[in-house]
Amino acid sequence: MKTRSKVSAMFLMASVLLVTSACSSGKETSSSQSTDNPSPSAVSTEETKDTTKTDGKKIKMRVITLTTDENRNNIMEKFIKPNIAAALPNLEIEFEPGGGGEEMANKLKTLNASGDMPDVFWNDAGFFTPLKSTGSILDLTSYISKDGFLDKYSVPDALKHVDNGIYSLSSGADTYFSPVIFYHKDMFEKAGVKVPTTFDELIQISKTLKSKGMVPAVTPGKDGWGPKLFMLQQMIQIGDPQAMADLVSNKTDFNNPSVKEGAARIETLVKEGVFPDGISNLDYGPAMEMFTSKKAAMLWMFTWELPNLAKDETVDFFPFPSASEKYSPTETVQFWGSPLNGYAVNGKTEHPEEAVKLAEFLAMADALYFESLGAPISLQTGNQAMDRSPLMQKFVDWYSPIPNKIASMALNSLDSRTSAEMSTQGANLLTGEYAAEDFNVEMNKIWSENTWFDK
């Protein structure tokens, strides 16, 4: 027994010695690697940072940006990745996919709560307030004024938030994003229908398309994407643009008869079979696929998809048709932009100047991409204007002269809770099992607690 104990004890001691020597050798290696430093133990954190810069080592930066659609992937693959090392040789950048919509909002809110915000990120009006309140978003005004980046914008004031700060840098293409109805000309021809000019005609041609075995129209409905971002706004606007403008600026609520009629129109669309079964669970990608593969004749979508859709010569678009004499598609239109949407810099980043440069690079990459597609932008790239596709030219010719451009409610009127609840209620409305009346009652209750305008 004693012999066994001795053997065990020796084995244990040998193990301890082995582990200790392994640990100490690690330390020695590490100090031998940093022989440039006169006294590693005495170097402060700040000095270490300085050494990192002067030693020519790259500064690490984290970026979270949108990764939801083909445009974003193209910008990343064709404009950002191939050029970033040459443009910013002192930075080592780690890109994290952010997704989009609620997914991205929740990701950034969580990172903000845990103090793990990236250095640069895509900002959105939907989650700006909590970031601002915790100092997680930098006012870029002084940085971009000093280095002259601000002068590259054709309308610099358009970047300013209501508090006069500039928090996001974008290409300015957002202002030209507007919801329209894309359609396949050949499918319309085959079904013998014409572009509708009134809401009733829209219902009528949808019935005809359906009777010919086609899905009349499609749009992303999962999580209430379509209703929240544009459908409700369009359905109110086509009946009474003033009511919609008043709702965006909180001068009216969901008791307004014109607003109620807007929700009722969505209910009508669903019940009349304009959309396919299961529209309330249809995601962005599958909705796009249904249209591009010609399963659906119409796609209700923002014009950020126009450059991709224009590649198909059978695709054309028309504005949302009128539901009353108060609305004309050449007089009123919804636009997407918000000064808060774009690349932003973490207010707590250790390297604000480098992060601002990175945000400027990313905004310019966006601008170069949209410019290459002939899309209008407000950030000047210094390049000659590109030739536009006929469809893009048609859009610009229609959109630019419209005098009454109404801001998007989703970006400019909703706090986090109202935004989330509108998604919920909007998805309900798309089921066809939920009455517009119930939608209006619920939304009015939520609207009365909306804190967006409490400033």
Partner: protein, 294 residues
């Protein structure tokens, strides 16, 4: 040797590391959670003490009760349908030749090792109302009136998600039961056969009673697994349409992160923890309390 292990001190010394970890990672996080649930909190800022108002608001919200109904529906599907089915599969597996059994084990395990996202996407495609396989099969059988928009209709959305969950884990439970069956001594079966018992009598009188420890384990695992049901809902419907397919965990996530009402989200969490503790207690107290030795 026994005198060292029977003292209270030695029990404490051996249990201490686990107790410390449990306290640190399970009990301690509850304290700030309870504290936040008593405050108006947006996830970043404490906006003041509100007492039990968050609890009152949460319980006055119809979505909270919809989420409860959905969660307990999943628990019911998992226990009342899933457990008997997986036990039947275990009996079936036990009755097969070794070669087929090996194949069956692989097949049974396969869905459980797949990522929830993959499984959920497969089933989303299966349920797709316009060209999904399920409606196509029903159509080809002349049962058009049985077709549905499975994931968007009020009546069908939760059962459809429940079936997905069941499909993914039924094989795993069957394997657990099968392993339990294999631990029962063969002499019991031989004695029963000599006494003239048929297959069903052997299953009912010998196998199932002797499996009670495994049943208890699977019961706890299935109940708590079903109560924590979230990922399938997230991928398949995002809790929708509206709030129709939200579970309690989803409602908690939605309240805390989507609406930025962390106080209320934490109130839901506290209520739900109490529910889970109560259910665990009931199972521990009333299910399979006799010690089996064979």
């Amino acid at each position: 040797m026994n005198k060292y292990f029977s003292t209270k001190l030695s029990i404490f010394v051996f249990a201490f590391p686990a107790l410390l970890l449990f306290t640190l990672f399970c009990v301690y996080p509850l304290l700030p959670e309870i504290w936040v649930s008593l405050h108006k909190h947006d996830g970043f800022r404490n906006l003041g003490f509100v007492g039990l108002d968050n609890y009152k608001d949460v319980m006055a919200n119809s979505s909270f009760w919809t989420a409860h109904k959905n969660t307990y529906l999943i628990v019911a599907i998992s226990l009342l349908l899933g457990l008997p089915l997986s036990m039947m599969l275990a009996f079936f597996m036990d009755a097969q030749t070794p070669r087929f059994r090996r194949f069956f084990k692989t097949v049974a395990m396969f869905p459980a090792i797949l990522s929830v996202t993959v499984v959920a996407q497969i089933w989303v495609a299966f349920y797709e109302p316009n060209w999904g396989l399920l409606n196509k099969i029903l159509d080809s059988l002349g049962l058009h009136s049985w077709t549905h928009s499975w994931l968007t209709e009020k009546k069908t959305v939760m059962p459809s998600i429940g079936v997905t969950f069941l499909w993914q884990y039924i094989g795993l439970n069957a394997l657990l039961f099968y392993t339990g069956i294999k631990t029962i001594p063969k002499s019991y079966y031989e004695a029963a056969l000599i006494d003239g018992a048929n297959y069903f009598q052997v299953c009912l009188r010998i196998t199932i009673p002797l499996l009670q420890n495994v049943i208890k384990y699977v019961l706890i695992l299935s109940t708590l697994g079903s109560m924590a049901f979230y990922s399938h809902v997230r991928v398949m419907t995002a809790g929708g349409p509206g709030d129709l397919s939200r579970t309690v965990i989803y409602q908690m996530y939605y309240t805390a992160f989507d609406t930025s009402e962390f106080g209320k989200g934490n109130a839901i969490a506290v209520i739900f923890i109490l529910e889970c503790l109560l259910i665990s207690f009931v199972i521990q107290r009333f299910v399979a309390r006799e010690k089996l030795e064979f």
